[in-house]
Chain length 433, copies 2
């Protein structure tokens, strides 16, 4: 496809959506990618840039001059432009910013750089349509047309007072059906949801999806309107949040993808495996301390993987339900009632499973007493595992720690150790060894 | 708060957002909830109804007459109304529908009932603004005003031909800045993304978030415009999808919440635990077959929980990365290269962990040969676990099965069994027993 035939390629690419072009470019070599980028229309280039993988974008930007980068930034909304500037090497940021011709735009980008990436301020864009409450509808429509030039999607029109304090909103639809002589202060809706610049992205996502908002204004500490966040950015937040929790539960500690380097993947995976190793050594030590039972009751030792697996599974199940409930804010009642419920649940599951186990081992091995001891231990192990799985995330959450770390390997490992300890202790007592 | 003081309560409630009222009502008894619902303004009631938990809504609707329900449905968008009608008992659906005064609205709701809940058709709403390409801008603005009455949020204006076939779109902004004499066919944008009524919700979510769309038109098999899907419904789809995968990975097979009944929670959790039980019995049987080694090498048996845990953890890690890559469509390269990469990764992790294990057990137990045998087995177990964890989800995906079922207990259990079998086999060979 590459190399010659520029004009055909060019017209072909301009037919294609920028997100698709970005996907193609992600697959190309650095040289080919830069070549393609330079072929594109300038306004398309900038959109493609925002959709590229971070490492590919970095490589391409390295091959562009400060002036070229500045040109792309001018085409972008301030939030996307600020994200790209934030990734540039420090020494060239200054040069790139000074090359941006639209000084307002440059100022907005620099403003946004100040905010923590992990806050509403870091997510918001400066592009929005705002009108003063003192205007009438006619002035308002005129001003809006001018402002709307810079705004890709007008969601709401925000109404501010003379000090830029957020007062309310106007919907486009309302404006279409109102006489041009009315004053804004008479027609605007004085109730508007807003978030503070310091709000966490997860909280913004919760608010926007609870109230079905498509854009939300962001205010500073003095309630002045400083930006707005649109739902498409929130969709990304929700996805990332879900991926993070999922990876945490699977024992992967950083945001990695299947295509990352082996080194990055190892750094994300090895720590949790190491935790598992320590847990396994603990379990081995516990079993070693019951070594005197091995000659008379070898069968007890054969069931340790079963006990460990059940303890781990039950713990993961109950912790996952709690973590999800906490994430959705839909946990009712106190810790006590939650633990009682989990205990009943674990007891029910435990008795069913233990009965199956009892019948199976009894028929198979013919030693009723040992089978009974194993089964009773299993019930107790399941109950304890359920309680640990319920308690730890609730406890971490109360302490202000992300409860998601309590799922996966952490809960599995601790439940393995407790499970095996309980199992041998109970078996020992019941069998009178 | 309850019982008397109606007027104060009423004015209080009308100040509050419907999503918050729904949260309050979810907590109340059925009697109090119905009482509160009846106090609310009718247009607020309907919004509150859509936000309620399913079981609470069912209880409340049971206490309302068909006429009252029909009144609420009239206030709602067709997609939300159809969702509520879909939950009603069959025998009263007919009565409720016939009580809806707006016959167009009733017809739209009935239309939507036909679509599978798990398709674009089941997600879409009938409310949209569409104009014919043959109109001029003036007619168009007039028609739009009439249509916009029924549409809560106008995102795009869709352009259709005389047979209702989707031709393109107009943006509100463009319309604001165009002369009233132009023809629609001259100003519309002929490119518009759309989805088929039969498309899966996950696919719609992918398309909308890839292209940053806030609404997408839905077309039938003849490319006729039949509805549109808005981003707020897609946010729900993304959340549910993420929760489903998360629960699957944790071994919870149905969509349950922490507050569901013990019976529902048991049904969701017990099958996976049962799988774990079968796996544990398998592991016990394998260990039983190596019973002759127990007197000379008891230590081998002490390490079985460690081996099982490591096999499980590695399997979960690698399958989670693959499942996530598949969900995001960002897996490149073939199965072969993926397996080679995972093998290298597992080897690296395995050697690091085995070295730690070797030193530890050697120092502690003083038996170098046994320690070496355990460590070498660990490396092999980790590699095999990584390969299984990588291969199974890829295989399921190729077969058209949701690869998410391969995470969690399924992978843990199979890896436990394989891990223990490999471990004892290798140890036996190395130790020459």
């Amino acid at each position: 496809i590459e190399d010659q035939k520029n004009s055909r390629l060019e017209s072909l690419l301009n037919e294609v959506h920028y997100a698709d072009i970005a996907e193609i470019i992600n697959e190309l070599s650095e040289e080919h990618a830069t070549y393609l980028i330079k072929l594109l229309d300038s306004d398309k280039t900038s959109d493609v840039l925002t959709e590229l993988d971070e490492d590919v974008r970095e490589a391409i930007l390295n091959n562009l001059s400060a002036k070229e980068i500045a040109g792309e930034l001018e085409e972008l909304d301030t939030d996307d432009a600020a994200d790209i500037v934030g990734e540039l090497p420090k020494e060239i940021i200054h040069e790139v910013i000074s090359e941006i011709e639209d000084r307002e735009h440059a100022k907005d980008i620099v403003d946004l750089l100040r905010y923590d990436e992990n806050s509403a301020g870091g997510l918001m864009a400066k592009e929005l349509v705002k009108v003063r409450e003192s205007w009438n509808v006619l002035t308002c429509v005129k001003e809006m047309r001018a402002q709307a030039e810079n705004v890709t999607r007008v969601h709401s029109i925000y109404v501010v007072d003379d000090n830029d304090k957020l007062k309310g909103r106007l919907s486009l639809k309302d404006l279409l059906t109102t006489s041009t002589k009315s004053h804004i202060s008479d027609v605007y809706i004085p109730k508007v949801d807003s978030v503070s610049v310091n709000e966490k992205p997860e909280e913004v996502a919760k608010i926007m999806s609870k109230y079905d908002l498509e854009a939300i204004p962001v205010v500073d500490e003095m309630n002045r309107l400083v930006g707005r966040i649109t739902i498409d950015d929130i969709v990304d937040v929700i996805r990332e949040e879900a991926e993070k929790d999922y990876q945490m539960a699977a024992g992967i500690s950083q945001d990695v993808e299947a295509d990352d380097s082996i080194w990055n993947l190892t750094r994300a995976r090895l720590p949790w495996l190491f935790l598992g190793l320590v847990g396994g050594l603990g379990a081995a030590a516990i079993m070693g301390s019951f070594e005197n039972m091995i000659s008379s009751h070898a069968i007890l030792f054969f069931f340790t993987p079963l006990i460990a697996a059940m303890a781990g599974n039950v713990g993961v199940q109950s912790s996952a339900i709690i973590v999800q409930g906490l994430a959705n804010d839909d946990l009712k009642g106190g810790v006590g009632s939650r633990l009682i419920k989990e205990m009943l649940l674990a007891m029910l599951n435990g008795v069913v499973l233990a009965t199956v186990l009892l019948i199976f081992t009894w028929v198979y091995k013919g030693d009723f007493l040992t089978s009974l001891a194993i089964s009773i231990s299993l019930v107790v192990v399941i109950i304890v595992a359920g309680l640990i799985g319920t308690f730890i995330p609730l406890f971490l959450h109360k302490r202000g720690i992300d409860p998601a770390i309590a799922t996966g390997p952490f809960i599995t490992t601790s439940n393995d150790i407790f499970g095996i300890l309980i199992y041998f202790t109970i078996a020992k007592i019941l069998l009178g060894i």
